[in-house]
């Protein structure tokens, strides 16, 4: 309204602010990726060196330090935990959306309430229980425990996806002689494929990144990457080890960052709707 030049100035300021936000958002990632290719001499230079001869030495050291086996732990635990939560949670969400469930509200509230309890409250009893069951340090133990993080998310988000599918198609399937299971698996589920992708990706990110439960329950043999990273790099204050720290950080980050950038539409939709 108030003249072309002012609106052009506002627009420029707006774009500048957005650029600033993006810069701060990605700076740690960019920094650590660059540092992972620097030599020990380059990595501690201030002001930071933007032009340097890249080296792969840090990644070699990460491999030599036996990171591969921890990477394997993380992959096994994450994939199994996500699969378990999706396999349990998606049918449950369908049930909550479609069936005449006794005590429906109470059960839904119970599922949701799990998300509101601080993890440390679960972690202490689970530690004691799992010591008794000799599950500390096993993959199986952590896989089950990660239900805590993922299942409520899967159920609530998938329920809203199922709610958006018109019940007419269930009725049509019923008329054609499909039973509940068939109409779920063959008719309704395929039309919520995007929703399944969405909850799977979110569960993957949360499980891969989880630290507290893994710290308490993974013992010596099931350590996942976030736990290893903090233990194994005790002396990272020493700039000589910054390259190693960066390279192992990049290894931990790569899967989640790549997935997010590839399918960020789903990630955005997921987080946008995740307040339930």
């Amino acid at each position: 309204m108030s003249g072309r030049s002012t609106s052009r100035v506002t627009e420029a300021l707006r774009l500048l602010a957005i650029a600033g936000a993006v810069f701060i958002a990605i700076l740690p990632l960019v920094w650590v990726v660059l540092a992972s290719f620097k030599t020990a001499a380059d990595v501690s230079q201030m002001p930071p060196r933007l032009l340097f001869t890249p080296t792969l030495d840090n990644y070699r050291s990460v491999l030599d330090a036996g990171f591969a086996s921890f990477f394997r732990n993380s992959v096994i635990i994450t994939f199994a935990a996500v699969a378990l939560s999706v396999v349990l949670g998606v049918p449950a969400a369908y049930g909550f959306s479609r069936l005449r469930v006794p005590a429906l509200r109470a059960l839904l509230l119970f599922v949701l309430s799990v998300r509101f309890v601080p993890y440390i409250v679960f972690a202490v009893p689970l530690f004691v229980i799992m010591v008794r069951l000799q599950l500390v340090g096993s993959h199986v133990g952590l896989i089950f425990v990660y239900i805590l993080i993922n299942l409520p998310l899967v159920v609530w988000m998938m329920k809203s996806f199922f709610d958006d599918v018109p019940t007419d198609i269930d009725d049509a399937a019923a008329v054609d002689g499909a039973n509940r299971l068939q109409s779920f698996a063959l008719v309704v589920l395929p039309s919520t494929a995007a929703g399944v992708a969405c909850v799977t990706i979110l569960s993957f990110i949360f499980t891969w990144n989880e630290y507290l439960l893994a710290l308490v329950l993974s013992g010596r043999h099931a350590q996942t990457l976030p736990v290893v990273l903090t233990r194994f790099l005790g002396g990272m204050e020493d700039p000589v080890r910054w390259g190693l720290l960066s390279a192992s950080s990049v290894v931990v980050l790569a899967p989640v960052v790549i997935v997010t950038l590839l399918v960020h539409r789903y990630v955005r939709a997921g987080f946008g709707g995740s307040t339930t």
């Binding site: 958002a25 740690p28 119970f110 950080s249």
Partner: protein
Amino acid sequence: MNRSSARSHGSAEREVPVRRSRYDWRATAMFIGPTIVALALVALLPTLWAMFSSLFDWHFHRPQARSFVLFDNYVRLFGDARFLNAMRVTAFYTVVSVVTTLVLGIGLALLTRAPFPGKNAVRALLTIPMIMTPVVSTLVWKTFFFEADLGLVNWVLGLAGIVGPAWTASSPSAIITILVVNIWFMTPFVYLVMDAALEGLPHEVIDAAKIDGAAYWQRVWFVILPMLRATIVFTVIFRITIDARMFEIIHVMTGGGPARDTEVLSLWIYNAALRNFHLGYGNAGGVVLMTLVAATCLVIMLVGLRDLYRRTGSS
């Protein structure tokens, strides 16, 4: 987002052919049963055990010597300076970071509202802080940015002639580092929620206000924010639950130091129950934390949504 669908489901307008029983018992057991059983095992059982054990003087390595003390652990908690400190730190940390992320997140969502070149790329890049492994981002902030001698922050301050502190090792800079990382980590979450919510607002209303001559800030304050109220309330509740359980940023950045200035309740419970192995005492702290979170969220929900539902109910 699916709050409304949950409500409409509760009122059950859908016509379902009535068979023998009111409920689909078999199908319920098949579809929902496994989830409920699984959650009962990994969530309900541990929570009940935590409450139960909080009534005992119970040391992990001396299970035979445990004794029933009723509420003694709770009485002790409220005379324990270290616990009270942890409550203060948690409250301060949660309030500051919830408010800041809310303001920044809504601001960013408003800023990126109108189209501009590269909008999709910007939205993708803005999600990066919250998908990055928190342990890793904290290590990066700690080692490269907040490091006293070679860190980026003190280098930038040095350009302005300021000698920066040993960030993570002194007070009050240590709590600032934690707040900065948490705000950096969580603002994208608020941004994504608000961005989605803004997209869903009825444009006619906002356009009408514009035609009526309302300036941009007036439209934001009197039209857009009131329409976002339910979303804001749920986001605040969600953010509180995330901050109240925050552990990794603090554990990695300061370990609770210096001098317990950054020891939040999660860390206090971890130390009491899993470092010092006082299970009963630590779990009593856990029950207090859980109760505080639930009570705070309930109050915020009741206050925040009160006349909203009355109004929609009457119209």
